[in-house]
Amino acid sequence: MTMSLSRKASLAAVLALSLAPPAAPRTDSLPPIPNIAGLALTVTGPVEPSRLGQTLMHEHIFVDFKFSGSLRPEPATDAELSLQPVTLANLHKARAGHWIADNDFLGDFEESLAEVLEFKAAGGGTIVDVSGIRLGRDPVGLFRISNASGLNIVMGGSWYQKKYHPPNFSDLTLDELTAGMVRDIAVGVDGTEIRSGIIGEIGINGDPLTANELKLVRASARASRLTGAPMTFHVGGVGEEKFRVLKIVADEGVAMSSVVMGHSNGLAFDFPFARRILALGVFIEFDWLGALGSPGGFLEARTNRKVAEGIARLVREGYAGQIVLSHDICNKIQLKKFGGLGYTYIHEYFLPVLRELGVGEADIRKMMVENPARALAFAEPKPLVGGGSPR
């Protein structure tokens, strides 16, 4: 790890408890775990990664952030707005960053199908849906989307950030969290036989890391170790906290090449830091592409243009093999139907600009095809580092 010694020393006391793995992991409640090493796991079953094609690594075809519904905004006019359906009349407010609950809800099958078909028509092959537990994850919906569209769909797992946790999340043990994720991957989600193919988005903000976040990182890493499934993080820690997160993952015996660090647009603005993260061997994901306003509003310093310039520079430095791209569609207003740019912005607008900025076709193919294929391929299932083995 590249964390400095002094930094380590200063954190040592704080971390002693939280970083120490529990002595005796219990895995006796785990189901049999199939070995699909080398394959990607879609909602219709394992596939050769070479068949995935152009892949969006971080989307939400179906999502429901309804658990944040209790957090109604205080100003009365905003609270009233939050209850309205998204319409042309209030689109400007949603784009300006005002919260509309309906905007956080993607659940219309036909609507979603129409949107992803545009990606298919643009040459797309695979979408990774990273909606996890309590985030409206919809195994049957995704299974049907896959069959109806002909797209490969990889379904996510794990837990999202704190406000989407149940009140008893602190009481859930590391083993319980681990077992739940393993079941989603080995057996199927919510009583179906439709299986998660990636662990995430793992809802780590890490600003700084909390006890529950540390527990969630470790449980997700153990589920990855036990099943061979790849991991994908939401933020995954702010600043130096990313190294703490990745150290836990490494300590649990997961290869860094199975880890995607999501929401990494900031790395396009801090190259020394980006190089330190990339040196670990993880994938970094630029995944807030093509959103017209919201939640930050119409104004942002880190525009997609500047992200593209940063990516072009990282590619020039030789990092094309570790970069993946996505839109992170999670709001209605990102869909074409609701005034957004949908699942084709990267193809229609972003990649052409990358080409203008000097990125070659071979590197674009890495980011859109080869890297996702490597990232989504399962590793061998292995026993936990601390003992215990899947049966």
Binding site: F298, L299, R305, F338, G339, L341
Partner: protein, 394 residues
């Protein structure tokens, strides 16, 4: 809308009564001075009353190409849609499902038409609700300027509206003014400023927007010379726009040369669409050192991968200009000129500066645009620009 007709008649009658004294003033007190006042569609008002002012907007305008000939497209600087999908997109009415591509700059004919007075009133009331007071509408004749509608909108909203006069680019104006000389055009401008547009009695309060592409061309040179003469004779300000996508330093500086040599005082000139040059500090300084206002008036579009200069970049430029002592020469506006700019179509509308930009710019680290500085930019600077100077006799 029962009653609209009779109200309109009553207003028309009121204007006839008004037109009498105005005409008298023009005929017998030729060039009666309105120095120190701004000229709105409801007549001169003390400049101190203007308050927060948007220096470059359009309430009702028609920026659609007058025809679809390839020459017209080429002259417009817009990208003609070629593929079947883009042609289909171009020809359909603006609707929610195409707002994404339109935000990316895809061409759509309907998008370029602002023709709904009721919408204009509703959108302008948003500006008012956030503390706005005055709007400069720089729609000129070839863009379907409608003085009476502007007066009605002003009356319905209580917002001062300053109306522009002049000629936009040749792709829109056409050959209509080719036979007129600079002196002829100057006469038209003087009349619109002192008497009123056509037979409306509604006076222009600013010359512009003028959008010179090439000050060496007959078309642009003539218009600039006319503007300079009319500004000199009336004391009116001038508003230029750097043509979008064609920010040639030589053309911008050349246009100022023509204005100056034809007698305009450059400290009465705003150079708009300066957003395009916000990353070019040396050029901005060169312009400011000529005495003009720099007007950043393309604010409020959501940024994306084709955005070369973002609103954030403009804020940084303004902060740098404030630091360099040019704060008194900076103007900000949104330049609403298409449907997607309106809140009714998902845009940020006329209130963007007050509603979103000022709070955002204030919070920029380490040093944002303070409330006092923003007040200077949104109130004092436009007031100084819009207050007529003393007419100067040749």
């Amino acid at each position: 809308m029962a009653g609209t007709g009779s109200r309109l008649k009553a207003r028309a009658a009121g204007r006839l009564v008004l037109a009498g004294p105005l005409m008298t003033a023009w005929l017998f007190g030729a060039g009666q001075s309105v120095a120190g006042k701004a000229v709105t569609v409801n007549g001169p008002v003390p400049a101190g009353e203007l308050g927060v002012t948007l220096a470059h907007e359009h309430l009702l305008s028609d920026f659609r190409l007058p025809d679809e000939r390839p020459e017209t497209w080429a002259a417009s600087g817009r990208k003609q849609p070629r593929t079947p999908e883009k042609v289909r997109l171009y020809n359909q009415p603006v609707a929610m499902s195409i707002l994404g591509p339109l935000a990316m700059g895809e061409e759509n004919r309907d998008n370029w038409l602002l023709d709904d007075e009721k919408t204009a009133v509703a959108e302008l009331l948003e500006f008012k609700s956030f503390g706005g007071r005055t709007l400069v509408d720089l729609t000129t004749d070839g863009l379907k300027r409608d003085p009476q509608a502007l007066r009605r909108i002003s009356e319905a909203t209580g917002i001062h509206i300053v109306m522009g006069a002049g000629w936009y680019r040749r792709a829109w104006v056409g050959a209509g003014i080719d036979k007129l000389s600079a002196a002829d055009l100057a006469k038209v401008l003087v009349r619109e400023i002192q008497v009123g547009a056509g037979r409306t009695g509604i006076r222009a309060g600013i010359i512009g927007e003028l959008s010179p592409e090439d000050p060496d061309s007959d078309y642009d040179r003539k218009i600039l010379q006319a503007a300079a003469r009319a500004a000199r004779a009336t004391g009116a300000p001038i508003s230029l726009s750097i043509p979008l996508g064609r920010a040639e330093p030589r053309a911008i500086l050349g246009s100022l040369d023509v204005l100056e040599s034809a007698g305009a005082a450059l400290d009465r000139v705003a150079v708009g669409h300066a957003d395009q040059i916000a990353l070019d500090m040396p050029l901005m300084r060169r312009l400011l050192e000529r005495g003009v206002y720099l007007q950043f008036d393309r604010l409020g579009d959501p940024p994306h991968v084709l955005t070369l200069v973002s609103d954030h970049d403009v804020a940084l430029a303004v902060i740098a200009l404030l630091e360099a002592g040019f704060g008194g020469r900076v103007l900000l506006s949104q330049g609403v000129n298409s449907k997607i700019d309106l809140k009714a179509f998902g845009g940020s509308g006329y209130a963007f500066l007050l509603e979103q930009y000022a709070p955002y710019a204030r919070a920029i680290k380490p040093k944002g645009i303070t409330t006092d500085q923003m007040r200077m930019i949104l109130t004092e600077n436009p007031r100084r620009l819009l207050a007529f100077a003393e007419p100067r006799e040749d």
